[in-house]
């Protein structure tokens, strides 16, 4: 549906987006994740044809964006970071204008009413956008992107400035839209992406540093499974007891919690569940497990690791 190949954007000597390639299939929700200034918006602007790429191609539905901009643009609904609202118009007038601008061929009144219902702005349809709250403005921007039922939706940080209730609503909306549309949406908030997307692309310094399924992001970086244990007992006994458990690869004492208790991090093979063995083995050694929890990195950790890895690589790599 959307295919991005070797996309690069340079401003003078600065490379903002560096050789990005990925493709998104029909009905897929792709999360675009990265710290501020990583090149997310620039990439989206290139896909939508707002700015051109320095090199590389963007193909939407078989048409290249710079060769056949009209066709590509009419199949994309775009919500930029700052919603493009004419604040002096009423919501309805604005949507009517966008409807005409996009040359939508659907029955005008019904379609606009339907879109307004979908993003829940019917109650403010007669109000001037200037007087609306941030949350409503964001949703008007969202409505504008949905006009004409474009097969591809590109949403640049769609939930910024919304309250938690609205964020959940928008997330659910994105999820339900993902069944019929191809959705690419960006955010620097991880929980948001992991809650909504099938697939995550992590971008840092203009480069893709990870492209995985949402559920695999964490393990794809850390490799092995981890278990975090707080155990009361002498260190030697604990280590001996843990060592003999099949599947255990590495044991690390992280820190002492008090005189008798320490926290250990146990790395073990994927696909094995060692929790029961750990319990029995520690009990046999006459030690006590006070706390046992999944030691896998949270998505947040993985993300930070990815991004900082990339930055240190850049520093040590030097010439770019």
């Amino acid at each position: 549906m959307v295919e991005v190949k070797n996309l690069t954007k340079r401003y003078g000597n600065m490379t903002v987006v560096d050789d990005i390639s990925f493709s998104v299939g029909e009905g897929e929700i792709l999360g675009f994740l990265g710290p501020n200034g990583a090149g997310k918006s620039t990439t989206m602007n290139m896909i939508t044809g707002y700015i051109s790429s320095s090199s590389g191609t963007v193909t939407v539905n078989g048409s290249e964006v710079l060769e056949n901009p009209r066709k590509v643009k009419s199949s994309i609904g775009y919500l930029p970071e700052i919603p493009p609202l004419y604040v002096d118009m009423t919501v309805k007038k604005y949507l009517e204008f966008m409807f005409d601008l996009k040359r939508v061929k659907l029955p005008k009144k019904e379609h606009i009413d339907e879109v307004m219902r979908l993003v829940k702005i019917s109650d403010v349809s007669g109000r001037i956008i200037k007087h609306l709250s941030k949350g409503y403005r964001q949703r008007v921007g969202f409505a504008q992107a949905l006009l004409g039922n474009p097969p591809v939706l590109i949403l640049d940080e769609p939930t910024v400035g919304l309250d938690p209730q609205q964020i959940i609503e928008i997330r659910n909306l994105i999820k339900s839209l993902g069944k019929k549309h191809t959705v690419i949406f960006s955010s620097h908030v991880l929980s948001e992406i992991s809650a909504t997307c099938d697939r995550i692309i992590v971008i840092s310094n203009g480069k893709i540093v990870a492209d995985t399924k949402a559920s695999e992001l964490s393990s794809s970086i850390s490799g092995n499974q981890k278990l975090s244990l707080d155990i009361e007992g002498s260190q030697g006994a604990v280590l001996d007891a843990l060592k003999v458990i099949p599947g255990v690869l590495k044991i690390k004492k992280q820190r002492d919690l008090d005189d008798k208790t320490s926290r250990y991090l146990v790395e073990y093979q994927n696909g094995v569940d060692i929790r029961r063995d750990v319990f029995r083995s520690i009990a046999q050694a006459d030690c006590v497990i006070l706390n046992m929890q999944n030691g896998n990195e949270t998505l947040e950790d993985s993300f930070l690791k990815l991004v900082t890895q990339d930055q240190t690589k850049d520093k040590t790599g030097g010439a770019r």
Binding site: G49, I51, Y86, Q144
Partner: protein, 234 residues
């Protein structure tokens, strides 16, 4: 183009701009009309028409200052440029919106013509001819101002630069008379807005004037399109 034109007109008339501009134009043109026709007991509108150039220099930038600068400031240009409309349609829509408001202002001269007919038959050839000249002159200035507006995010800068450029076009003839270098003088004279325009105020439908003003309009619409193309490609 139709969608943009419609929005432009509604934004002019839903805000104070259209009314302020029209009131200002009517007031000053009325002043000139009274001053040259009533006070000196003349039925000729030609002096009124030649005086009005100065007012147009100030009015056209005010009409067109927000065309693109405001879009850029509010980031609504993103909606325009990612829509399936072509750049030509977008720029033309903006230009025509500003031009129609300006054209409405100029319609007042037909009213003055009617006022004259109360006392004596009016010279409709001059009135119609000058109105055509006014449209062309205003169109050229608006095209320039729209171009200036596309270069900046600030309405104020667009307006001030637009007025400066307008005044410059007004003064071209007097500047050229102060310069002694032949070729510079002839170049300045051949692009003198006042010279082309004054032919219309005498009731002459001057072909070279028509071609000149239309070329300026086409040139600056083309430049404006290039501004956005360049932005996309830089």
């Amino acid at each position: 183009m139709k969608a943009i034109l419609k929005r432009e007109l509604s934004s002019y008339f839903n805000s104070a701009i259209a009314y302020v501009v029209m009131a200002m134009f009517f007031a000053f043109s009325g002043w000139f009309f009274v001053g040259t026709c009533f006070v000196s007991n003349s039925s000729s509108l030609s002096p009124t028409f030649s005086n009005i150039f100065v007012i147009i220099v100030f009015i056209t930038p005010i009409i067109s200052m927000k065309t693109f600068s405001e879009e850029k400031r509010q980031r609504t240009d993103q909606a325009l440029l990612t829509s399936p409309s072509s750049l030509f349609d977008i720029v033309m829509g903006k230009f025509l919106g500003a031009f129609i408001l300006y054209a409405l202002c100029c319609m007042i001269f037909f009213v003055y013509g009617l006022v004259i007919t109360i006392f004596t038959p009016a010279d409709w050839a001059v009135i119609i001819c000058t109105n055509i000249g006014l449209m062309l002159l205003g169109g050229a200035l608006i095209a320039i101002d729209v171009f200036i507006s596309a270069l900046t995010e600030s309405q104020l800068i667009a307006a001030i630069v637009g007025m400066a450029v307008g005044l410059l076009t007004y003064m071209l003839s007097s500047i050229s008379s102060m310069i002694n270098i032949d070729w510079v003088t002839s170049v300045l004279n051949s692009i003198s807005f006042t010279a082309y325009y004054s032919n219309f105020t005498y009731g002459m439908l001057d072909l070279s004037g028509i071609v000149f003003f239309l070329s300026v309009i086409a040139l600056f619409i083309f430049f404006t399109i290039r501004v956005f193309e360049k932005k996309r490609w830089s």
